[in-house]
Amino acid sequence: MVAELLGIPCVTQVVKLDVSGAKALAHREVEGGAIVAEATLPSAFTAEKDLTIPRYASLRELVAARKKPILVKEPLHFPGVLEIVSVQYPPPRLPGRVLGKGVEAVPILVKVLHEEAKVI
């Protein structure tokens, strides 16, 4: 949404990103594979797990971070939003039953999946 408002390209669900000069080559994770897209910078990218490995800050950096100024901004209140009507827990999933131990339980499983659960 931010990228659309700014009028810049946005590649979502990025798992691999290579920047060279004013262009970036991004791999987007999609059903069954990846889409390769090239965007001219400035661009926005939304990161998917595995894009980077988070690194731990060193002690020196941690100390330095404490001295950084924090800029506090007032939020803008935007009326056109989702209004929460109710919050509820999903219906609990009750424990089922253990059909047995080891390979002996296998024929029972096939039978209940077919006759009782009717999923095969």
């Binding site: 659309e4 994770e29 965007a39 661009s43 424990p95 253990v98």
Partner: protein, 327 residues
């Protein structure tokens, strides 16, 4: 009088995705409640001939944008086509599947239409002429019911939650071809790299056989592949096995992976940590195979077998082979 329900019928290649039919079915249901029409939108290459099949799921009219440049999802091109159509027909609701394409497209549309979007919806209802959407929050720990302030209402529907249902008699939808004008874009969508010959995606699969840390190593997934192949399912993985590098991230089920809702989920050597649970709890039936009788997964699986996956899974494959052979 309500504007039509616009449904984005996503295709994969030249065929509609199952989630497109699910969204169309839900659109039909809402249209009947709101006494309006269902308007389908199909974008892609070679999609024109299949457009009429949306009529089976209750779509009254289909706008088709069929062009070589639309073979792969391009955010700017798809957004422009959908936006132009939405401005023309003034829909009251826009539904999209919560697939990677739908999830990318929905907020882009919403911002240009100056409205809001409810993502990953699991239920929609009309209350006092208003659309109320149910969507999971906090990794599925709670369900929020939200009223959508803004028009049109844009919602993405989680795949496999809504059931695609054919209407009788089927509708012969009116088909309209859209001319494709390319907007200015600074993005080039180059190619699609497939992860091999996987037929189905996890989020759309009806049967998933999933393996966790208990599988011991990447070579042992063969027994899960065998079981999945006999049952016509696909193989998934838990975070432990993805982090160990045994399986690609695209196979991961759970909080930082995919959220799946197959009719049957068989968890093999998976303990059932909360992060995994949220990704698969919406499966219709859950089967757990684990040697640890205390594993949390037995607390929410419908059926469990306590045993060694390396003995139980091959035996199950044998048994399923017999079952599918005679049925």
């Amino acid at each position: 009088m309500h504007g039509p329900i616009l449904v984005f019928a996503e295709s994969s290649g030249s065929e509609f995705r199952k989630s497109a039919f699910e969204a169309a079915t839900e659109a039909r249901r809402l249209a009947d409640l709101l006494k309006t029409e269902v308007h389908g939108l199909s974008i892609g290459q070679g999609v024109k001939d299949q457009a009429t099949s949306l009529g089976k799921f209750g779509v009254d009219k289909v706008s088709v944008a069929d062009d070589e440049s639309l073979k792969l999802f391009h955010p700017d091109l798809y957004r422009q086509i959908a936006l132009d159509l939405a401005k023309k027909i003034n829909p009251s609701v826009i539904l999209l599947p919560a697939t990677s394409t739908g999830k990318d497209l929905a907020p882009r549309l919403a911002i240009h239409l100056n409205t809001v979007v409810a993502t990953e919806c699991t239920e929609l209802e009309i209350r006092d002429d208003e659309l109320i959407a149910t969507r999971p929050a906090y990794a599925g720990k709670v369900l929020l019911k939200v009223r959508m302030r803004g028009n049109p209402k844009v919602a993405t529907l989680r795949p496999n939650v809504f059931t695609a249902k054919e209407v009788t008699p089927p509708i012969s939808p009116r088909i309209e071809s859209l001319s494709v004008e390319k907007p200015a874009t600074r993005m080039i969508v180059k190619e699609f790299i497939t992860h091999g010959a996987k037929k189905q995606d996890l989020t759309e699969a009806g049967i998933i056989v999933s393996g966790g840390r208990g599988m011991g190593g990447p070579e042992n997934y063969k027994i899960l592949e065998d079981l999945a192949s006999v049952m016509g399912g696909v193989v998934g993985a838990s975070r432990a096995s993805v982090d160990a590098g045994w399986r690609p991230h695209s196979d991961q089920v759970g909080q930082t992976g995919r959220t799946v809702s197959p009719t049957l989920y068989i968890a093999c050597g998976i303990s059932g940590a909360i992060q995994h649970r949220v990704g698969m709890i919406n499966s219709k039936v859950i089967v757990a195979i684990n040697k640890d009788p205390e594993a949390p997964i037995f607390g929410f699986a419908d059926y469990g077998i306590v045993g060694d996956v390396f003995e139980v899974v091959p035996a199950l494959t044998q048994e399923m082979r017999k079952y599918y052979g005679k049925n």
